[in-house]
């Protein structure tokens, strides 16, 4: 039986329509934060259910252009996009669940916030579904503009406004490069559709490629800006630090995945033959990203700023696999996708738990404030330790397996220098992650006892994330048939293959 086209688009449809409906709902007076959160959770759950339904029923690998006469093949639904969409919707759901306590505590949050969150998820999903440069730009801007507002939502705090404004100005500037690059590529190839650019490149490989390379470089500049890689990393600390913690968690966990999702599609499908040009550039970018991010993370006193700086380091790890794509395409691409999942879980858990702890007051900010935390809240300290271990890449967590795939991939593809630099950065990262664990467990200063007790849904969700991280590390050795790491890796490989079947 022919599947109707709308089935493919149901996840996008639910999130988009949900965002618009929430906007209308927010004008009614009797809709409070809790009802808004439940409504948005309903829409996101519908979206993720329909997405998983697509993944299950359409076969292992699929790739279709829904409504190709209307959308002109601008939107593609394949295993790859569905896999990324699952991550992104899950990010939205977990952010709402974790942040609910925080949102209810602060007066400035209204129901519109959830509408913006859904719009942002919608933009990111459209970005990974986009099969055309202008569609991708519009999707990127939908996601970014929603994020700009979400960052500045608590408008009584100057830091939020400053972060929002900085991100708005710099993000728009970076977006311009994307358009410039698209116009160069259109000028050279006569198309902005992703598959057709690839066909043009492979047909005219002997002729002059300067204009396409120039356009590709411009698009990569936007990409490097959005994931906060080395020459464009300075906005990250101020913006992530200025945003409220649930928003930081959302940005750190999902936005990076969405941007990587699009750029991997672009590079793998279109620039496969001319990618060598950028390899040298990326080697230097990675080395500087890792070095600078590690340096920034070491000197931070505030826990939030340390996590943000370390997110720059994680960008560096991801880019290592990005370079190895040239030699071992399938393994490198799937290791990027897997590492994105691992980082997504760890970062969301870490930021979410700190958000929960600091939602009552702003007292616990620096390392010193967490002295003797394990004596006051042993369970929270244990969960925080799990997240730190996973971010540092210690075995028995999912973070280790992610790093393992990336570094072995780098060695296999002959980039030993990058592997060495990456492993050195990992060793350095042990310092700033374990400092928190040491401070929590080996010191005793129980002066501040005003920590929120474990109540509500947020600690439960965070505990589930912590269990998932440990399950990702040791799971498959215990119970073979329950989905674990192998399942994620296999899915990542299938989604990589689905890029090339049309």
């Amino acid at each position: 039986m022919q599947t109707p086209d709308i089935t493919y688009l149901l996840p996008l449809f639910f999130v988009g329509v949900g965002a618009i409906l929430l906007m209308i709902l927010s004008t009614f007076k009797n809709i409070n934060i809790k009802k808004g959160a439940i409504a948005s959770l309903v829409f996101l759950t519908l979206a993720i259910v329909s997405n998983i339904y697509n993944l299950n029923t359409l076969g292992d690998i699929y790739s279709v252009y829904p409504f190709s006469d209307v959308f002109n093949n601008m939107i593609v639904v394949d295993t790859y996009a569905s896999y990324f969409s699952t991550i992104l919707i899950l990010g939205g759901i977990l952010t709402i669940l974790i942040g609910l306590h925080y949102f209810q505590r602060r007066k400035e949050f209204t129901v519109e916030f959830f509408s913006l969150l859904l719009f942002s998820v919608f933009g990111m999903m459209l970005l990974v579904h986009a099969n055309e440069l202008i569609t991708a730009f519009i999707a990127l801007e939908i996601a970014s503009i929603s994020l700009y507002i979400m960052i500045g939502f608590e408008k009584v705090i100057d830091k939020r406004i400053e972060a929002s404004y900085k991100y708005l100005v710099l993000g728009s500037l970076a977006g311009v490069f994307f358009l410039l690059g698209s116009s160069f590529i259109y000028g050279a190839t006569g198309t902005t559709s992703i598959g057709e650019i690839g066909i043009f490149v492979s047909n005219n490989i002997d002729s002059n490629m300067s204009l396409i390379i120039l356009g590709g470089t411009m698009i990569l500049i936007t990409f490097l800006f959005k994931i906060a890689a080395f020459p464009f990393q300075n906005w990250a600390i101020d913006v992530y630090d200025g945003a409220s913690l649930p928003v930081t968690a959302f940005m750190a966990a999902t936005f990076k995945a969405a941007v990587f999702g699009f750029i991997l599609r672009l590079v793998l499908v279109d620039f496969d033959l001319i990618r060598d040009f950028w390899d040298d550039m990326f080697v230097y970018i990675i080395i500087f990203t890792l070095a600078y991010g590690s340096f920034l993370a070491i000197i931070q006193k505030s826990l939030k700023r340390m996590l943000v700086s370390s997110s720059i380091v994680h960008t560096g790890y991801l880019l290592i696999a990005f370079v190895s794509i040239g030699v071992i395409g399938e393994n490198a691409a799937s290791s990027i996708i897997f590492y994105l999942v691992a980082y997504f879980l760890s970062a969301l858990g870490a930021f979410g738990l700190i958000a929960y702890i600091s939602s009552e007051d702003q007292l616990r900010i620096t390392y010193d404030d967490f002295r003797g935390f394990s004596h006051i809240r042993p369970y929270m300290a244990a969960m925080l330790s799990v997240f730190m271990l996973s971010l540092a890449g210690i075995p028995s967590t999912i973070g280790f397996i992610g790093k393992f795939y990336i570094f072995t991939g780098a060695i296999e593809s002959g980039n030993e220098i990058l592997a060495i630099v990456g492993i050195t950065a990992t060793f350095v990262s042990v310092y700033y992650y374990f400092k928190l664990i040491a401070v929590m467990y080996f010191y005793r200063s129980p002066e501040m006892t005003d920590v929120p007790p474990l109540k509500g849904i947020a600690p439960l969700v965070i505990a589930v994330i912590a269990l998932m991280i440990i399950w990702g590390g040791i799971g498959n050795t215990l119970i073979a048939y329950f989905p674990g790491v192998d399942f994620l890796i296999d899915m990542a490989k299938l989604s990589y293959k689905s890029l090339f079947i049309l």
């Binding site: 209308i24 004008t27 490629m209 300067s210 390379i213 001319i274």
Partner: protein
């Protein structure tokens, strides 16, 4: 394959590059010259009329009434319809070619904008000084 590495005067883009470099140089040069000229040749005496704000002839006066920031919202809502018209015009010209498909697309577009307008309305953006 990649020809960015060597200098090539016969390259088709060399002329464009030369123009770009020339433009930047001229721009920078004019800025520098203008600064030097204005430093050296300006009349530095202070006169009362010279130091006042230039307002196209009429004397500068303080704004007697403050203009409410509320006008800003009205201007934004005006732009909502303004942009709608811009997109409707080419659609109306090609109405017969686009047919029902174009009609449905335009209805969707107007509906989305109308939802935004209703949102602003419900929030009280059209009532003076009563934003909820």
């Amino acid at each position: 394959m990649t020809q960015l590495s060597h200098m090539d005067f016969a390259h088709p883009y060399f002329g464009a590059f030369f123009l770009l470099a020339f433009g930047v140089a001229v721009f920078y040069g004019i800025t520098v010259v203008a600064r030097i000229v204005s430093r050296r040749m300006a009349r530095l005496d202070t006169e009362k009329l010279k130091l006042t704000i230039y307002e196209c002839g009429p004397e500068v006066s303080k704004q007697p009434n403050k203009i409410s920031a509320h006008f800003y919202l009205f201007a934004l809502l005006f732009i909502l319809f303004d942009v709608e018209i811009i997109f409707m015009f080419p659609w109306a010209v090609n109405f017969k070619i686009l047919g029902w498909f174009g009609f449905i697309e335009m209805v969707l577009f107007v509906l989305l904008l109308a939802i935004g307008f209703v949102y602003a309305w419900k929030k009280g953006a059209l009532e003076w000084h009563s934003i909820r």
